[in-house]
C-alpha cells in the first residue's frame, strides 16, 4: 500500500472510532443521570411513545436530549475554535480560554447579566429577548479581545508574549466583573456565579435552533478555509507566496473563532481547556497537520470529550458537578505532555 493511502486509511479508522464513541457516549448520557430511569423506558420515550410517568418524559425530552446536543455542539465548537487559533497564531498552546477570548465573552455576558440589575435574569429564562441580549454581549466581548490580540500580534512577534497578553486580558476581565459584582443585585450575582461554573444544560429546546445554527454555520465556514489554513502552517510569508491573502484569511478565521467561542460561552459559561486540548488529541490520532483531516477529527473528538465531561458531571452523588471542575483534570495532563514533548523536539 502506498504510504499516502496509509495515512488516509488511518484517518477513516479514527473517524470510525470517534463516531462509534460519540454514539456510545450519547446513549450513556441518555441512560445515566441523577434520576434513575430504566433503559427500556428511555428508549420508549425516545421512540416517541408517551410515558405514563410525565416527569420521566420531561427529563428525557426537555433535559437530557437538549443537554447531549448542547454538549456535542459546544465541544466541537470550542475545539475547532482552538485549532483555528493555534494555526492563526502559529502557537500550539493557543486556545479560546488561554488567549482570553472566553473571558472577553464572559465579560460581555456579565455586563448584560449584572449591569441590567437582574431584569435580564438568566439564560435559563425562556424570554427570547434575554438570551439574544446575552449572546450579543458575548459576541462584543469576544470580538474586543480578538481585536486586542490582532493589535498585539502585530507588535509582539513572540508567541509566548501573546499568550501572556491573553492571560492578562483574562485577569482584567475578571477584575472588571468583580467590580460589576459590587454594584449588582443579588439575583444577578447568583445567576452569574451559576453560569460561571459551566454547564451544558442551559440551552432549552426553544433556543436550540439558534445555538445549533450559529455553531454549524461557523464549523462549515472553518471547513471551507482548509486550503489557506494549510498554507498558514508554513507561516505568513510562505502563505502569501502561495497566493493567500493572509490579512483577509486571518480576519475571517478570527471572526469564525469569535462566533464559536462567544455562542458557547453565552449559553454554557466559560468552559476551559477543551479548545486547547482537543486539537492535540486530533493531531495525535491522525498524525497529520492537514486541516482537511484535522477539522473533522477535531469536531468529533471535541464532541466526545464534552459528552464524557457531561456524563461525569451528571453522575455526582451530591448533585451536578460543574463542567469546569472536570475539564482541567482531563486537560492539564495533556497540556503538560505537549510542553514536555515540544521541549524534547526543539
Amino acid at each position: 500500500m502506498k504510504p499516502d493511502n496509509k495515512s488516509k486509511v488511518r484517518f477513516w479508522i479514527v473517524m470510525g472510532i470517534l463516531t462509534a464513541l460519540l454514539m456510545v457516549l450519547a446513549v450513556a448520557c441518555l441512560l445515566y443521570g441523577s434520576v434513575d430511569i430504566p433503559a427500556r423506558d428511555v428508549f420508549s420515550i425516545i421512540a416517541g411513545n408517551g410515558h405514563e410517568n410525565v416527569a420521566w418524559d420531561i427529563i428525557i425530552r426537555q433535559s437530557r436530549l437538549p443537554m447531549i446536543a448542547t454538549a456535542a455542539l459546544a465541544g466541537a465548537a470550542l475545539s475547532v475554535s482552538g485549532l483555528l487559533l493555534q494555526t492563526t497564531f502559529n502557537n500550539p498552546l493557543a486556545g479560546p480560554s488561554i488567549l482570553g477570548v472566553s473571558a472577553g465573552a464572559g465579560l460581555g455576558v456579565a455586563v448584560v447579566m449584572l449591569a441590567t440589575g437582574g431584569t435580564v435574569s438568566t439564560l435559563l429564562g425562556t424570554a427570547v429577548g434575554s438570551y439574544v441580549t446575552t449572546l450579543i454581549g458575548a459576541l462584543i466581548g469576544a470580538g474586543a479581545v480578538l481585536a486586542i490580540l490582532i493589535a498585539f500580534s502585530a507588535i509582539v512577534r513572540n508567541s509566548t508574549m501573546l499568550l501572556i497578553v491573553g492571560i492578562l486580558v483574562s485577569y482584567l476581565a475578571s477584575s472588571i466583573i468583580s467590580l460589576l459584582n459590587s454594584v449588582a443585585s443579588e439575583e444577578g450575582i447568583h445567576s452569574y456565579v451559576t453560569w460561571g461554573f459551566g454547564n451544558f444544560s442551559g440551552v432549552t429546546v426553544a433556543q436550540m435552533p439558534v445555538f445549533g445554527a450559529c455553531i454549524i454555520a461557523s464549523l462549515i465556514a472553518a471547513i471551507l478555509m482548509v486550503k489557506p489554513l494549510n498554507a498558514l502552517l508554513l507561516g505568513t510569508r510562505y502563505a502569501e507566496n502561495l497566493g493567500v491573502n493572509t490579512h483577509r484569511t486571518r480576519n475571517v478565521l478570527l471572526i469564525v473563532t469569535g462566533i464559536l467561542t462567544a455562542v458557547v460561552t453565552a449559553f454554557c459559561g466559560p468552559i476551559g481547556f477543551l479548545g486547547l486540548v482537543v486539537p492535540h488529541v486530533a493531531r495525535f490520532m491522525t498524525a497529520t497537520s492537514n486541516h482537511a483531516r484535522l477539522i473533522p477529527t477535531t469536531i468529533l473528538a471535541g464532541a466526545c470529550v464534552a459528552l464524557l465531561c457531561t456524563l461525569i458531571s451528571v453522575n455526582g452523588t451530591h448533585g451536578i458537578i460543574p463542567i469546569n471542575a472536570i475539564t482541567p483534570i482531563i486537560g492539564v495532563p495533556i497540556i503538560i505532555y505537549i510542553i514536555v514533548r515540544e521541549k524534547i523536539h526543539s
Partner: protein, 258 residues
C-alpha cells in the same frame, strides 16, 4: 531578460521617515541562469528580495516580469510566477515532506486544495529532482538541516514557477550540504530553464556556481553582470570597506592581508 527592475529604490519606511538602502536599480534576471546576490551584512539583500517577491512595496520604481508589472498582479497570479524559499524554520509538527511539497501546488489547485493526478505527479517529480523522494513520508522535524533545505526547494519546484528566489539557502548548512545545494540550484536553473536568484554570504561557492552576480558594494552600489566579467573587473574588492580584507582570485575567496 525575464524579470527586470526599472529605477527601483528599496528601503525602509518608519512612520514618515524614509530610509532608502539601494537606489536606482536597473537589474535583469534571466531564465536558465543561476544568479547570486552578494553583499555584506545589512547591505539590503533581504530588503531587495522582499521587494522582488512583493512582500514589501518598493520606495520608487517598478518590477516587471515579461511585460507585466508585478504590483498589478493578484496574489494568485504572482504565486504562479515566483516561488520563494526563506530562512524561516518550519516549526509545525505532523508535516511530512510529501505534505510540504504538496503545499507548493496550492497556486494550481481549486478552492479546497484537492490534488489532481497531475498535481501528484508534479509533487513526485519535484521530490525526485532534488533527491528527497526517499524521505517523502518522513516528518519535517526529523530531517537534517540539509534535507530540510532540499524539501523546501522541492516545495518551490512543485509550485512550477519560472522564477525561484531563495534567501540565504545555504546559511545553516555544513560545507558538503552547501556545495550540494548550490550544485542542485545550478542544475535546476540550467536543465529546467528557471531563473534562480539566491542571496548568500558564501562568496567562493557563489563564484563557482552562479552564472550572474548581483554584487552590493560597501558604498551601497549594486554591480551586476556575468560572474567571470565581474571577477575580471575586480568588482569584488568593493564589497567590504576593510583594507585588510582582500579578494584572492585564485582562491575565489576573501583573505586577511596584514
Amino acid at each position: 531578460m525575464y524579470l527586470t527592475t526599472h529605477n527601483l529604490t528599496v528601503g525602509y519606511t518608519d512612520g514618515k521617515r524614509v530610509t532608502p538602502i539601494l537606489s536606482n536599480l536597473n537589474l535583469s534576471l534571466n531564465r536558465g541562469r543561476l544568479t547570486a546576490l552578494l553583499g555584506h551584512n545589512g547591505a539590503g539583500k533581504s530588503t531587495l528580495l522582499r521587494a522582488i517577491t512583493c512582500a514589501s512595496k518598493p520606495l520608487e520604481g517598478s518590477i516587471t516580469i515579461g511585460t507585466a508589472d508585478i504590483s498589478q498582479l493578484t496574489g494568485r497570479e504572482r504565486s504562479r510566477l515566483i516561488a520563494l524559499v526563506t530562512t524561516d524554520r518550519i516549526t509545525v509538527g505532523g508535516l511530512t515532506v510529501a505534505d510540504l511539497v504538496a503545499l507548493g501546488r496550492q497556486p494550481h489547485t481549486g478552492f479546497l486544495g484537492r490534488l489532481s493526478t497531475h498535481d501528484r505527479e508534479a509533487v513526485e517529480r519535484a521530490m525526485t529532482l532534488v533527491g528527497i523522494d526517499h524521505k517523502a513520508q518522513a516528518y519535517m522535524a526529523d530531517l537534517s538541516d540539509g534535507e530540510r533545505q532540499k524539501a523546501m526547494i522541492a516545495r518551490a519546484l512543485a509550485q512550477d514557477t519560472p522564477i525561484i528566489i531563495l534567501d540565504e539557502p545555504t546559511a545553516f548548512l555544513d560545507v558538503a550540504s552547501r556545495i550540494e545545494t548550490m550544485q542542485l540550484l545550478h542544475t535546476l536553473a540550467h536543465d529546467n530553464d528557471k531563473a534562480v536568484l539566491l542571496s548568500s554570504h558564501d562568496v567562493s561557492q557563489s563564484l563557482l556556481m552562479a552564472d550572474d552576480l548581483w554584487l552590493i558594494t560597501k558604498d551601497g552600489e549594486l554591480i551586476s553582470g556575468p560572474t567571470p566579467a565581474l571577477i575580471e573587473q575586480q568588482a569584488l574588492e568593493q564589497m567590504f570597506g576593510n583594507p585588510h580584507i582582500k579578494f584572492n582570485p585564485t582562491l575565489l575567496d576573501f583573505q586577511y592581508i596584514p
